[in-house]
């Protein structure tokens, strides 16, 4: 193993230097601008789906009669405009400890309430992750005014902003997951196609003989994979810094929806999952690319490989809309979609141990794919090994 890693380091160091110190690396740094625009647009479509699923629902702690009046007002408003655009109401009977009840409803994982309304009819109070002049508060004021028919004075709604859970609302967290997933996908999409052509250089320059005689083929694969990971991380640092500057100057970093695990943990996990996503897809593409003899063959392979990546992304993106479902679990377990699905999970769910298990699972698969790739390379490209005979028989 020491020999494999030493060889990988020598190859990785050369590849990293050759990549980063070349003039074309500047173009590489500008590369994400265009697909990122596409990613934002595509992310918007999916987040629209997420938004539709997460219609704002307010828990109402009130006597039955008060709730019926409010619900009737809601129905009238829904009849006048689109039902989907009017917030939903769910009644709960008041309990002795109202504060505890309110807290429990806000943090409930089963029903995802944006806010809790109490104090009906005279002193309505709305508490939750909402803004005093936001859409939810405005709609409730309208409903309360409508429900209090006969009263000339519009009831004063007291709004209290609360961060109910560390990561904000499920909708916000899903959006954070989507953004992280899209970013990971596009960064990997940009970089993995580079790995397709990595071994073509060695093969066309005939250096492969020198390398194959000096170090195990696994070293070549690992070295190339990690060199490109290091180069891409360098690019990622530049892109992230630029992206953060743009976001900060546009809306302010605080406006970004907070993930369930909290920002420091989430960013740490996102970095790890980027590396794992890159290593997993990179190992697959390195293996596929190693079979190509010419640049033309690599170019031909690029399209199906990109489509494959799109499929994996679509699979992982679908999991965001159904956290905890069988689909989400499948996306988290399937090695190639696991990093994308898990980064979304980091945004939506606070647990850390599933990430430890997922990362170990992904590392195992990187090792397996690299091993397989190296064997395949020896067998098909270097034409190494004994000739296999089916069932030990050979025609005379």
């Amino acid at each position: 193993m020491r020999k494999v890693m030493r060889g990988a380091f020598v190859i990785g160091r050369r590849d990293f230097s050759a990549t980063v110190l070349s003039k074309t690396f500047l173009f590489f740094l500008f590369g994400p601008v265009f697909p990122l625009l596409f990613g934002i647009a595509f992310g918007g479509i999916v987040s629209g789906t997420v938004g539709q699923r997460d219609k704002t629902i307010v828990a109402v702690i009130a006597p039955e009669a008060e709730f019926v009046r409010l619900q009737a007002a809601r129905e009238r408003l829904a009849g006048a405009i689109d039902n989907e655009r009017v917030l939903g109401l769910v009644r709960y009977a008041p309990e002795p400890d109202l504060a505890a009840q309110q807290q429990r409803l806000l943090t409930s994982g089963e029903t995802q309430f944006r806010a809790v309304l109490t104090g009906l009819p005279d002193h309505p109070r709305l508490a939750g992750n909402i803004q005093p002049e936001g859409n939810t508060a405005k709609q409730l004021r309208l409903l309360l005014a409508n429900a209090a028919s006969g009263n000339a004075a519009e009831p004063q709604l007291e709004v209290t902003h609360i961060d109910e859970r560390p990561g904000g609302t499920p909708r916000d967290q899903a959006r954070t997951g989507q953004i992280a997933q899209t970013a990971l996908f596009f960064f990997t999409l940009l970089l993995s196609t580079m790995l397709l052509s990595q071994l073509v250089e060695e093969k066309s320059n005939k250096i492969i003989e020198v390398v194959a005689a000096a170090v195990p083929i696994e070293s070549l694969f690992i070295g190339k994979l990690f060199a490109m990971l290091a180069a891409s991380l360098l690019g990622l640092i530049v892109w992230t810094a630029c992206g953060a500057a743009v976001v900060a100057s546009w809306t302010g970093l605080a406006a970004l929806p907070p993930p369930a695990t909290g920002w420091p943990t989430f960013l740490g996990l996102a970095s790890v999952y980027f590396a794992m996503n890159y290593l997993l897809l990179g190992a697959v593409f390195l293996t596929i690319g190693a079979q190509a003899a010419t640049v033309r063959e690599v170019q031909t392979l690029s399209m199906p490989v990109t489509f494959g990546q799109m499929l994996v992304f679509g699979f992982a993106a679908a999991a965001v809309t159904a956290p905890g479902s069988g689909l989400a679990l499948s996306a988290e377990v399937f090695p190639l979609s696991s990093p994308l699905a898990m980064v979304a999970r980091a945004a939506q769910s606070p647990g850390i141990w599933p990430h430890v298990a997922a990362i170990a699972w992904q590392v195992l698969w990187v090792a397996l794919i690299l091993r397989l790739g190296a064997r395949l390379f020896r067998k098909t490209v270097l034409k190494s090994g004994p000739t296999r005979r089916w069932m030990g028989l050979r025609r005379a």
Partner: protein, 319 residues
């Protein structure tokens, strides 16, 4: 010193041993039961025409490919990769990264074989200076001539002072001056204790350099042993020019003698040179010129590998 110590470990042993190596590429058998033994510290030639299986044999010995069957032992190790840090290799198809500087290319090959990069760079600069390429140390490979690039690759294959140096067609593409330099380098490395195996289809190089050879034809070893033993398979050749075209002396000349210009060419009879000389003198042959030549390796090769193999070998003339 290290190399000397390591060399002593294998003293008396074979640096390389191959037993019944077979390599099939699909239905084609490229190497068919090659067995050879390369003594430590020797210069060993692998002779054969193009397509004889020399490169495939070397690639199996180096572990680049695994044999379909058979065993190999390199510097005492059954897995060639375990000996990789003590082996240098110049492949037949030369290859370097075109954008890499000459010094860095050599250092990279050294680092692959376990040298620390700093030390590899120091040695690379020294070696380039020794080979009159000091001014090219920090120039990209793509700016070097073919001969220079070949020298760079050769230096890269010996930078780590390997115990075993494997050179596949090392003289191919070199001009006469560089061929002579390479021969000198091979001799020097052997004097320093390295074992050298090189393949060639130019017999003159093998004849000048090798103590032992293997003649490979059609994937099989047709001969393996000392160069002198290969030559000893043939009788010395007599080249004779006489004033008289006929006479009693003709009875001493073998019936299969052939005429090349005004010379008679024939194998020295088993009875040796004295009876022949006596017969020529007594028979009034009128000797104008007489030469008894030891057969060359080329002649031995023809006898061992056959005319067709020799014809294939003869495409490139030695410089």
């Amino acid at each position: 010193m290290l190399r000397q110590a390591q060399h002593e470990r294998f003293q008396g042993d074979s640096a390389v041993e191959a037993i019944d190596l077979v390599k099939d590429f699909g239905a084609t058998r490229a190497v068919d039961g090659v067995s050879l033994s390369v003594p430590s510290g020797s210069i060993y030639g692998l002779l054969g025409p193009n397509g004889a299986g020399k490169t495939t044999t070397l690639r199996m010995l180096l572990g680049i490919i695994d044999p379909s069957s058979g065993t190999r032992r390199i510097l005492g190790r059954t897995k060639p990769i375990d000996a990789a840090e003590e082996v240098g290799y110049l492949p037949e198809e030369r290859g370097l990264y075109p954008a890499m500087h000459a010094r860095d290319a050599i250092a990279f090959m050294g680092a692959l074989r376990g040298l620390p990069l700093k030390e590899a760079r120091r040695r690379a600069e020294l070696m380039l200076t020794e080979h009159d390429l000091g001014d090219w140390a920090k120039k990209p490979i793509r700016t070097l001539s073919k001969g220079m690039a070949q020298t760079v690759q050769l230096l890269g294959s010996i930078i780590h002072k390997p115990q075993l140096i494997v050179l596949d067609e090392p003289f191919s593409g070199l001009d006469a001056i560089n061929q002579a330099r390479l021969e000198e380098l091979i001799r020097r490395e052997a004097q320093n204790g390295a074992t050298i195996i090189f393949s060639t289809h130019v017999i003159a190089h093998a004849e000048r350099l090798c103590e032992r050879i293997a003649i490979v034809a059609k994937g099989k070893v047709a001969f393996e042993g000392r160069v002198d033993d290969a030559r000893a398979r043939l009788r010395p050749i007599v080249r004779l020019r006489t004033r008289a075209s006929d006479g009693p002396w003709r009875s001493a000349i073998p019936s299969d003698a052939r005429l090349e210009g005004d010379h008679l060419i024939f194998e020295l009879p088993e009875s040796g040179p004295e009876p022949l000389l006596r017969a020529l003198l007594d028979g009034d042959a009128g000797i104008e010129a007489l030469a008894i030549e030891r057969p060359g390796l080329h002649d031995a090769f023809v006898a061992i590998a056959g005319e067709s193999a020799a014809a294939a070998m003869g495409e490139e003339k030695p410089q």
